[in-house]
Symmetry: D3
Subunit: 330 residues, 6 copies
């Protein structure tokens, strides 16, 4: 059986603050004996729960990386009780390229689990987390945003799970995060997701969508930063109570939430994120890119609710998701 070739340059299980790398050997044309160097910080202070914190699972999502870099740079061992493993740039090659997937192998890390120790670079990263880091964790927080091609209302999320106890623990952690919106998600296609891999190991798991477009703002970073510390407090690793505030509960009950484009063109959004829409409302119009004087194609809501996500770029291709309508749960 093949061993995962990744080796940490710092101890994972010792007390103190350690900054270093997960070194993944990567032989290639421009470096015969090269490596991918994934930055990692481990802060540990005696026995106690372990939190595994990741950003840039998709390489073009930035709230998590900023919040985690700040945590890594400022967290002191004596402030903690237990262990915090911080990996701000999970799919590191994708993060460096500013792309959703890895430029090395086009790997979508969040569809690559459980990974393979002898697979592509992305599969090796997945396997290392699945076999080395996740087993060490009690609670796992994985930051997402919409990336360059989607934009989301800021929410933390938990999944509906077969194990009710585990689901309650996850919901409690999501509530501790205390984002402006809180989403109960039932993933339509969870094959290969990190979420599923973590949940399958019985861990408490929280994920987020905190904005998008391939940028972050002072406001969206503040949400990430508060939620991050709230979760660590909730886990008992940091002292004190989570900082609370109002949150709106959302759900995506069925496929009618999604509107897909069936032609390419220039997008005219007819509603903005957070707008309330009724069934049949026009969500967007698509104008032709090769002529003037033609009529645009209208895309209408298949159900009412809140506009929770939207296609971000000004141009759209056939098959792109144009809009997502979420249900407000009272």
């Amino acid at each position: 059986m093949t061993t995962n070739p990744i080796s940490p340059t710092i101890p994972l299980d010792e007390d103190g603050v350690h900054h270093g790398f997960l070194r993944l050997p990567w032989s290639r044309d421009d470096s015969a004996w090269g490596s991918v160097m994934i930055p990692i910080t481990v802060v540990r202070n005696g026995d106690g729960p372990t939190a595994l914190l990741t950003g840039a699972n998709h390489g073009d999502e930035y709230e998590g990386p900023v919040a985690l870099q700040e945590l890594a740079a400022t967290l002191k061992a004596e402030e903690t009780s237990g262990r915090v493993i911080i990996v701000p740039y999970f799919n590191y090659p994708a993060f460096r390229a500013g792309t959703r997937t890895s430029p090395i192998d086009k790997g979508n890390l969040n569809r690559s689990f459980p990974g393979r120790p002898d697979g592509t670079v992305t599969q090796k990263i997945a396997d290392y987390f699945n076999t080395v880091l996740v087993p060490r964790a009690d609670i796992v927080l994985d930051f997402h945003s919409g990336g360059k091609t989607l934009d989301f209302l800021p929410f933390a999320a938990a999944h509906i799970l077969d194990d009710t106890m585990q689901q309650q623990a996850c919901v409690a952690a999501m509530e501790a995060f205390n984002a402006p919106y809180s989403m109960m998600m039932r993933e339509i296609d969870n094959v290969g997701m990190y979420d599923t891999a973590v949940e399958d190991q019985g861990k408490v798991f929280v994920t987020t969508e905190l904005g998008g477009g391939g940028t972050a703002t002072a406001k969206s970073i503040a949400i990430a930063r508060k939620g991050l510390r709230n979760v660590l407090k909730h886990a008992g690793i940091l002292e004190g109570e989570p900082e609370t505030g109002p949150t709106i509960r959302l759900a995506m009950p069925d496929d009618d939430c999604f509107v897909f484009a069936t032609e390419e063109g220039l997008v005219e959004p007819c509603a903005d994120l957070g707008d309330t829409v009724a069934k049949g409302d026009c969500l967007a119009r698509i104008w032709p890119v090769d002529r003037t004087g033609a009529t645009p194609v209208e895309y209408r809501a298949k159900r009412g609710g809140l506009l929770a996500a939207r296609h971000f770029p000004g141009l759209v291709k056939a098959g792109d998701c144009l809009a997502v309508i979420a249900e407000v749960v009272d």
Copy 2:
């Protein structure tokens, strides 16, 4: 002397509504006798002033294209008095690629004027407008936004010109546009700009910055649509009075408005668009992309004012403009 090879497939000077193309012959590996086909609509109703309206001067800016496509599709000759020339996709190859500059020749159309009839594709477009369309116009409106790499507060703008009368006419048109913000700009580098080429022909010229990030929203499109019709009313081409509302007057008095990055990294914005900042306030921090545990570099305001523009992507390169502070003119 070389003639510009572009030919319109519709009459430019006849009454009625005509939709067609500016055909620019473009011989290349994948089409020996190919062409660039720039969509154009001309609406004319007797003598009267001519407005020349353009979007996608930079190919990744979308408010103008959407507003102009709608105008081209809906404007009737009998509603107008004079002529409206509508080119929603000015640098058409760039627009199709979703990029600021042309994928054919990397031409930044707004730095390519006065152009050349025997130059690159971008230079030929510039020359055609400079010699054929701008001379036909009385008022010129050119839509801009921040594109994929910048984000702006929504404003219409006029330039400080040597000819006071011309400047007043431009300011009046900018005021008619009635965007949420109105900016008096003194361009630092106006070599090759369309703006300058138009102004040098003594025309009334209005430009805008209406958002950015390579997207548009229902809100930003509404600003473009209202401004567009307001300008046509102001010019006497459409009937009625411009629709008015409050606008905040801004200015960019000197180079201290601009803050440039001197290292690459992960951007943490510390202020958002429209925030009021004081001299010395932190505008952004840059975190390293290759390690954890290091201190971020802070970028501070060199003067007080409103945050009027910002770097959009989550990653930044040395030399990128991080932020622009505008002065509020009371």
Copy 3:
């Protein structure tokens, strides 16, 4: 067990004419929630046999796509008895790129069967046809031509099969197609072919080679169109008798049919498609591309027959098939 993620936007099993898409979710850097949208038309009129018709299995072959688009646009339910499933652009990403294989994963669809529901985009398409569409079919017609790098005499083809009854049914369908040439093929390398996958399900299968070079002509399209309707008549789905005419029967009995280049260079064809050649005749000469004054290398026929296929581009690389000699069967 993983389910194939492709979903049709139209019913496959209902009466009437339905135009829509096979939607294949495809998350990528330029569309996080994007899809490949493969156009499909299903025409059904009560119970009766099902024909599955495909073009652009290789993306640069055009007779099938044109004939099938016309059929999809004109066929009425009441003209049919049974069902016609029309997919003019089988390997859709390859078709859009104008290339033999998919630009997404370099997948040669005709070497990707039986496919995988959790594989690459091309493998997912293969799996969907293999598990969803082919099982619904009684007769399958898959159009091929030479593509950009080969040129063929126009023929319909059937394979020699272990099941004599099935082979006879295939030959009968090939004869019904009634192309100018009819070829009995024994594939040298049939691993991964759609042909084999279909035949393994016991279906009647007809394939073609109708020209090549990455183009189609009025003549070659007429052959496709006639053959297509002939096969539907033969299957009893359309009324009437197949339109008949002369056909020349060909065979490719062994490896001596093929002539491969062993150097790169400029090709001088010494025989054209359809020419009769004797063993030892010069089929082509290869001239050096880097000097003048050198002697060309001659490639001679290893057996006599008809020149049935040839390398198309003016330049050739070592290893390319230069020519195929077919045997005329009585």
Copy 4:
């Protein structure tokens, strides 16, 4: 004044057969002190007229290169009277890449005259021919075909010139070539053409279009080979009389000869090369590439005549020339 940096490795003005190169220094990333080596053969036998013979002016046109390679490899000095300068691969970098234009600078050699000694690689080649080789020539034959994106009826051509005597000499040379078709061309855009540069030096000039699609056939090569030797006989460089046969005279009188696509799509040709068409006949239909069930767009002849040229690839883009109708001159 800058000198052209190209140097021949063989003498241009000495008796005998010399094979060598035009060496063009080309410093670049993969060769600091590299060169472009353009193969050339000079055959000279005493005083007498000079013929300058070129193929691959566009790099994807193959009849000329094959005929000229054979001539260079077989012509003996004693067979000639005067001089023959043979350059089978005129735009050599384009020829090696199999593309119309140069991969180095995207230069279309036939739009780069008179060239520049200090310009791009393509401009340097143009300048060298314009200042060194053309002045040495009495008669110039430049082979063309349609390349990868166009297909032509096989014709030799002469231009209508201001100097009637020169025009007659060119027409006589075109007739000596004796292709199946002979075309009187009035170039619509002759800026930068080699043709014009040669004619401006008062030389006899013949050009051709001998097929296309990026291939050559035994038949089209035979036309080139016969025409080549005919022209040398006509010029008195080879002994004997030109080999004659029937030719059909054509003309392209005005812009109505050309039909351009205004949308992208899948091409269905409705007429083939050499077909006689009447005004209003359908020349081609364009089918959508993104859906089934839609109506194709028809393109009709704007005048009657012979289909003399057509778009070659199965896909077409807006702006591509779809068809050319020539007038038969009785």
Copy 5:
């Protein structure tokens, strides 16, 4: 079970000198029926041992290819006793591209064993050697150098093996090679290596590292040429005794031999190949590429010994191996 599709164009098992190809069918966009043609020479003279000789396992390593081309061009059957199989360009697509890995599939051939008959091009080559050629061999010599990104002291090498007898035979062959240095290697990661695949079949195996940087010198080629003939003499295939000379024995006992960069930058080597260094000596400094005035980062030896390998390019990326220190074995 799938058969490997590679077929040799020459007999592998007949007496005499045969030059030909291993033909690997490779269908692709630019050649539907194309092949990879790997040059091979087999020289055989009756029964006797078989040597399998390979260069360019990594495509940018040149001593082996030159020495093997010369051997293939000059070796006469009557000089030999047994058989010599010569493949100068093992990973042929990589060799043609001048890159370590294959441009077709990015395959590192030396990490692709045992390969797959139905895999990528690189995997097919591996499988063919593993199942067809290695089983025919008694002794296997595989030439390596550092390639474009590493530089090595010139050494032949043998591995520490579980089978002491086999190890002794390998060491004896390494000594027969008689390079300036002789290295006992214990590979850290031997998954997928050709070395291991050969050794697992019980064969005598010798490998080398003879320089690097993507070049070869007269000196390094002389080492390869002498070693090659020495090994054939040692195997009894060529007559005579190996030519002997001094060699320095080296070992790489543990991971402290390797020094990896943890930042990108401009490399300043502080020791050259062959220099003796002590633990703590500075091996290299890395200067920032984006500013002046900063302090370089120093990389120091973790153990003493000889500098046996070093990073070659002037720029370095985080994760690249900067230096290898070998122990001199007295």
Copy 6:
């Protein structure tokens, strides 16, 4: 007249040590308001001569950049008398890419002088040096090596100039540099060179070739470092006498020094740098890359002397310079 848009972020004419950038605005798709930031250090101590020191004129040459980074990081104002302007990365975009020419515009900086203020990025850099920095200098030292594709004996060089006094001053500076070899060069093609632009302003100019292959060694850096300080001492900017040692004087008297390849292939060098060769000696052999069993082509010396430069990569293309023979001047 256009002004050069480059602005320094530090004072050029003030006392002290200043580290900063030459900021060159560069608007592009991935940064609308981006810049090229060229690192620069200016050290000044009162009036006195100015030395302008540059490395990476070609981006893949490393001795100069390392020596200049060290000087910039360590030189104190009080050690100097006059001014030192240090630009370690002259063609900065090329240096970052590790390529000879700029990835932005393919500009070879050393063929771009005098440049243009409104030209490409490379031309703007040339213009800025030509109009702003060179005029400030008394002595100019520009470091070169062979880059990735050539390798040189280490020499400093001066040119033969029309102005004998200026030439003597340049030779004296070259001698002060005291490299192992000293070369009197007469450039064959000096159009656009920085050298010529500097000399035309009457400045003392020294250049070097210190190795090559795209790497540097401890030894070659030591030569650069010593030469650099020697030149500053010679100029009176640093105190003390230049450190002296033996140097061998070389010359390249005519075109017979250069040997060019006329075919592509695998290079077998038959002599190494520094070897003495006689006229007719074999310098290299080229083996075919597409077959075994063929005879190599030999390239022989056209004159005797020292092998002073050679083609570096293992593969060669037609037109590449294979070798340079220099004459030893006693």
